[in-house]
């Protein structure tokens, strides 16, 4: 187990290092830099001073070396747009993304696996309900999150059922913790639905297929022959085995959802990591891009670790392999 964890930590460090370095280089290589953010008609001297402040007047490799030497001391540079250290900015945005991601993941997991068990257990001849669920899943998988988000924002604007965007109501400046949490919760449905629907549809399809296949395995037939009820055979015998398929992708899904969705966060104005990285890329805010990439990679590494641990928990064969 210890060796497994050490391997995972090394993988995580490498992932963060490569992602952030690649992000730094690619942003540097992209055409344009911070000059466009300096306001109308900046003088040559102003532009040169700003470039020098952010080490943009040095060769890319030298700039990377300086940034890396500072990053090893947990100084990830200063954001051009925000004029403050990148570290706290990224941590705050990551926390916001995590709130959204964890909620979306919980919704997607409950909805997707629940519906997957339902459709998988019913098989292809289970009546209209499984067909409707399957069709809905396929539709959700086909719709890009951009379209889903825009449709939801449009519905919110027309009906007033949900806040239009953001994490809290504009103008609420100070309030007690309880109402503040309630306000955040009121803003969650729109981005959570947009983020959770395609994930839930993926889980539903995977769970349904895996359960359908597992139900045909001999041990389920044996359980039925022993007089175990169909409900119990599905939930206690077939379902845990069929979860392997979900666990295999769960880690990647966790990482992807937690590290923020560019599209959903941008359209719904959720102040998370995805939106921050998108705006940083547009502004060529080079150190903020690298910081966001590092945080996203950390989430991905954590997600993969969580997925592996889940796999260990549900599959004895993997558990034996890990503990050997």
């Amino acid at each position: 187990m210890a060796r497994f964890l050490v391997r995972r930590v090394i993988f995580a460090v490498l992932l963060v290092f490569i992602s952030s370095s690649a992000a730094l280089f690619l942003t540097r290589l992209a055409p344009g830099d911070l000059a466009s953010a300096l306001g109308p008609n900046p003088s040559g001297a102003e532009v040169a001073a700003a470039r020098a402040r952010f080490d943009l007047d040095r060769p890319a490799v030298e700039q990377w070396g300086l940034w890396m030497s500072r990053a090893l001391r947990f100084d990830f540079g200063e954001s051009l747009q925000y004029g403050r250290p990148v570290g706290p900015l990224v941590v705050r945005a990551a926390a916001n993304s995590a709130v959204l991601g964890i909620t979306a993941l919980a919704v997607a997991t409950l909805l997707g696996i629940g519906l997957g068990i339902f459709t998988g257990a019913q098989g292809l001849s289970g009546g209209l309900a499984p067909v409707v669920v399957r069709a809905f899943s396929v539709a959700c998988l086909s719709l890009p999150p951009l379209v889903t988000s825009l449709i939801l924002v449009f519905i919110a604007a027309r009906t007033g059922w949900f806040p239009l965007g953001g994490m809290t109501t504009p103008g609420i400046v100070e309030t007690a913790w309880g109402p503040w949490l309630a306000d955040v919760a009121a803003h969650l449905p729109l981005p959570v639905i947009a983020l959770a629907l395609p994930v839930a549809a993926t889980f539903e399809r995977l769970q349904s297929q895996a359960l359908g296949e597992t139900l045909h395995l001999p041990f389920v037939a044996a359980a039925s022959a022993r007089g175990v009820s169909r409900r119990s055979a599905i939930l206690h015998h077939a379902w845990p085995v069929s979860l392997r398929a979900i666990c295999a992708i769960y880690g990647i899904v966790i990482g992807a959802v937690l590290s923020g969705s560019f599209v959903v966060e941008y359209v719904t104005a959720w102040p998370g990591l995805g939106r921050m990285m998108y705006e940083a890329l547009r502004a060529r805010d080079i150190y903020l891009v690298a910081g966001c990439a590092a945080m996203g990679a950390s989430f991905l590494a954590l997600g993969t670790l969580a997925g592996d641990l889940l796999l260990v928990a549900v599959d004895p064969r993997v558990r034996e392999g890990v503990t050997e």
Binding site: G39, Q81, V173
Partner: protein, 598 residues
Amino acid sequence: MRPARILRILLAAAAAAAFLYYIRGAMPGGGGGTREGVPYEGAKGAPSDDPSYVPQRGGQIIGSSRSQPRSFNRLLVRDQTSDTVIMLLQGRLVRINRATFEVEPWLAEKWDASADGLTYTFYLRPNLTWSDGAPFSSADVVFSLEAALDPKVESVMAHNMMAGGQPIRAEAPDANTVKFTLAGPSGPGVRLFDALPILPKHKLGAALAAGTLAEAWGPATPPSEIVGMGPFVLREYTPGQRLVFDRNPRYWRKDARGQQLPYLDRLVLEIVPEQNAELLRLQAGQTDLTHSELRAEDYVPIRKAEAEGKVRLVELGIGTDPDGFWFCMKPAVKAKDPRFRFVQKREFRQAISHAVDREEFAQTVFLGEAVPTWGPITTGNEPWFSPNVPRYPHDPARARELLESIGLEDRNGNGVVEDEKGTEARFTVLTQRGITYYETGATVVRDYAKAVGIALDVVALEAPALFARLESCDYDAVYMRALMSDLDPGLSLDYWLSSGDAHLWNLASKTPATEWEKEIDRLMTEQASTIALARRKTIFNDVQRIFAENLPVLYFAAPRLYYGHSVRLRGVVPSVMRPQVLWNADMLSVADGAASKP
């Protein structure tokens, strides 16, 4: 203990710590305790527009900003968001009224100017205090000028505080008097001092002495450290989310009834980077005002919202910065480009001007909400607009004649004119991606140019990539809006002088590239140092005429600008200049002020 159990304990502890950290960090106002507050009530209950309405103190408004302030120190930044924020926090000696363009007394109640225009004496209002209670005096004004001119600060304002080629000098004969001495006369005169933010010496004096003023008052500075003479004080800045301003209880200004200003208790600027989202919020009653004027494509939905009583639409007037179309004409870069031979001829540019039907252009690009324009100074800038400049009516036949006069004809019958060496008049036009009227405008120009044999390929780029191309003259032509630094041409020398950083077609040239640019340099230098307004106007009319004859930048239409705000907002005095409403923030009030008191 088993490894799995250790792992579970560690994960649980990490989750708990992360949750506590998040809750503490994400609480509005920094968290850390239970405080009372009242949420925004929205636009409900707003009375109809009543001329007898008497503004009441109280309430809050919510505006939006599309970007972050880069600093709270105006000496260091020039971007619009920072400028707006600093306008709310800081005072100036005089203020240019953004609606009338007249100079108004502000922290100085009056001033004298010597007959030769070399000395200005300002008399400060007595007994004023900074937002932290420290007394305001002439020493603060002298300090502010010193800070603006200090080479270590590298202030963006430094060039504004020059006259006759030398820095302006200041002295304080007494606590309420400041005397400025100029090395040469300045055409803009007292208007120069609208640009100088007055900074607190008691707060920033040590930083200037230590040479660290350039780092002072950055975005991470605690709000309580930022002291000003403006109508509001900064209460909270949450990066990427919002800025919260509270009334400055020591603000000096009162209304005509003697009531203390500002009327509002609080002003919140939510950061909403996307203009569509910003407008949706306005229509839904979640915000009171937006970052800037409406786009042409927003007119119809906002008019509909106005008819439904959700929004109030105000006409700002004709925009002062029309979209321009220009070629890079930097000889050092373009000398080897065979197309430069005909681009640098004014007949070529005049032909494009004749090719465009400006009335139709205004109709297509701005949905009819624009007027034809013939130069950079539009009717929106009434004091300096000259109607007597050469105009180029829509005349494709005349355009072809002009092209033929410089040897450009369609020799191979492919629809594009060539010179005698076979060089086609084919160019790539860059514009900024995501701005609809840029992309539409560039496309419309392309279609008109095609009709006279000039091929333009439009390419839209992201802002950083576009600006990088502009800076290095790595482009054929550009279609976009270039903002003038000021409405007074004497303060926009960066556009007019060939050495200027906003001399679009040939940025920061060491010497004038042509005779007519040399002549404009001479006239603008004279204009900027002439005191008599009539003489300044005459000179500038000549400049506009020379410009329109040579057309280094082609202008087609100036949009009629509109602004949308909530129906509960009162005291709006709209301006064509940004920020269109917040320039007068101390006079804004809300119809349901008491109900939405924070």
